[in-house]
């Protein structure tokens, strides 16, 4: 288990900030940490990264106690904060070389051009970091988080400021790290598209409490959060629908259907085609994770 948090409580200045946070992340998994602004996500991350000591509860990260074994933990994790800063007078290579030395990894300096290339930065760019766009800074932040080949990667809004191509490239890097290298990733984001594309598990936090935690498929299935689709279908259709597909409405050639949270859309479309449906277009209309998030966090922004 990379992250194991049970009953985490944290008081700051006498006020309870985290009341009961529970999270679990295993090797190779990507956990999406969701919640309204002020819900306690960043504070939870600060406990995981040993920047704050918990008031109560059990926190183990990579099997270590973050408070007692901080340096060992920091050697094995990588983190990217939301508003990550750099030494703007340095260039990307010299900055990463400096960071590698700080981790005692001076021998890995030769790998820095490849690392820069991996996150989509040109190692030949010797310009000062001060001249970098927000997207370039995000990429550099990710390179910094990967400098020590971490077993656990903690990312706060990693695709902020990236164009669609850049976002896709970062997604690919993260998926590769998770699938090929077994890196566990804790992804804190407001972009549900990112979560749906990358994560296998989610944790939803509000008011300092974990409201939901588990695999996305299980949660969607147990919460009955169907995903809605709009299909354009030509010709006459049989009246029967395969299991897991629910007819919500029909307007001419457009059919509105719901797909159970645990259902695989590809299987559902195959079943419909096998049943004689001539599907010409499929549009996703919503539902699923977005509806689930909205219903679970109903009540607006947290007060903390």
């Amino acid at each position: 288990m990379l992250i194991e948090i049970r009953g985490l409580k944290l008081n700051l200045g006498g006020s309870p900030i985290l009341r009961n946070v529970n999270l679990a992340l295993e090797k190779g998994q990507i956990l999406g940490l969701l919640g309204p602004n002020g819900a306690g996500k960043s504070t939870t991350i600060s406990v995981i990264t040993a920047l704050r000591a918990p008031t109560a509860g059990n926190v183990r990260v990579l099997g270590l106690d973050p408070v007692a074994e901080t340096l060992q933990l920091h050697r094995r994790i990588g983190a990217l904060a939301e508003d990550s800063g750099f030494y703007d007078w340095m260039n990307a290579s010299s900055y990463l070389q400096w960071m590698a030395s700080l981790y005692g990894l001076g021998a890995r300096k030769a790998e820095i051009p490849a690392l820069l290339h991996r996150v989509g930065l040109d190692a030949r760019n010797q310009g000062a970091i001060a001249t970098y766009s927000r997207g370039m800074r995000q990429r550099l932040g990710l390179a910094r988080a990967l400098i020590n080949r971490p077993e656990l990667l903690i990312l706060d809004e990693p695709t902020n400021g990236l164009d669609p191509r850049g976002r896709r490239e970062i997604h690919d890097v993260l998926l590769n790290l998770s699938a090929q290298h077994g890196v566990g990733i804790l992804l804190c984001t407001h972009l549900l598209d990112d979560v749906e594309r990358l994560c296998t598990r989610i944790g939803i936090i509000a008011h300092g409490e974990t409201l939901l935690e588990g695999s996305i498929a299980d949660i969607l299935s147990t919460q009955g959060a169907a995903v809605r689709y709009r299909l354009r279908v030509a010709g006459d259709q049989p009246s029967t629908l395969p299991n897991g597909v629910t007819l919500l409405a029909r307007a001419g050639e457009w059919w509105h259907v719901g797909l159970g949270g645990s259902g695989d859309p590809a299987n559902a479309w195959r079943s419909l085609i096998d049943a004689g449906w001539r599907i010409e277009e499929i549009h996703r209309e919503g539902g699923g994770l977005e509806d689930l998030y909205m219903s679970v966090t109903e009540g607006g922004e947290a007060s903390i």
Binding site: A79, G85, G106
Partner: protein, 250 residues
């Protein structure tokens, strides 16, 4: 390389390679140039004797060194926090003590640069007199603990006050209070409060030593108490900086 040395090297690079650091050094060089020109002119006109001029340059270098130290010190923690570069440092496998000692190393480099920068000016005003060597030695001996103490005070305030503006303002007020002997007249300095202030104030210890050795040609043995005051100031500010960084919250 040791993390302390790496952080100190980064701090030095920030002073010597960043536009901001170079601008500060350039400003100090301009101030020293104008002051030296005025003093040399006065010496040529026999309005001031050479020892007096050297003493004034030493006091000014110490005060400007203190100014540079509090500016650098106030920016070390709070500035990094504001620019978002503190968090990656705290997430690296380095202890808060290593961070603060590295930052202190940066202060040593800053003062060393300031000291080297001042030597041509000390030579320009003192080369025609008999006390050039004493001025260079005593500037290092007394100026170093006093200036570094101000830098460490800046680091401590930077860790505690969390933003550069508050840390810098508080450090500057402290610096102005300490350097006020330069502004006080002889009668005020002879009052009971003035005497106590002079005895306990590390900046007074430095400038009074400069006065004694350069103008009155006293030996080092007679400056022990003042040297101890300066060293206590340095040790106290170093302890405060270490404690403040260890206790700081993210």
């Amino acid at each position: 390389m040791n993390p302390i040395a790496l952080i100190a090297r980064k701090e030095a690079g920030e002073l010597l390679l960043s536009t901001r650091g170079l601008a500060w050094l350039l400003a100090l060089a301009v101030i020293m140039s104008v002051l030296s020109l005025l003093l040399v002119s006065n010496t040529e006109l026999s309005l001031l004797d050479n020892a007096q001029v050297v003493y004034m340059v030493m006091g000014t270098v110490t005060a400007l060194g203190g100014l540079l130290a509090v500016v650098l010190g106030s920016d070390t923690i709070a500035g990094e926090r504001e620019r978002g570069s503190l968090l990656p440092l705290l997430l690296a496998p380095v202890t808060p003590s290593q961070i603060v000692f590295g930052k202190m190393g940066g202060q040593v480099v800053g003062w060393s640069v300031m000291y080297l920068l001042s030597l041509p000016y000390v030579w320009a005003v003192g080369s025609s007199g008999q006390n050039l060597v004493q001025s260079v030695v005593y500037l290092a001996l007394l100026g170093t603990p006093v200036v570094l103490g101000f830098g460490f005070l800046g680091i401590a305030l930077s860790a505690r006050l969390r933003n550069v503006r508050s840390a810098l303002l508080t450090s500057l007020i402290m610096l102005m209070l300490m350097t006020s002997p330069l502004l006080l007249g002889p009668s005020l300095r002879q009052s009971t409060i003035g005497k106590w202030f002079d005895a306990l104030n590390p900046f007074s210890a430095a400038v009074n030593t400069f006065d004694s050795v350069v103008i009155d040609s006293q030996p080092l043995g007679m400056q022990t108490t003042r040297l101890v005051v300066a060293l206590i100031w340095l040790a106290a500010m170093a302890a405060l900086a270490v404690r403040s960084v260890r206790k700081m919250e993210i």
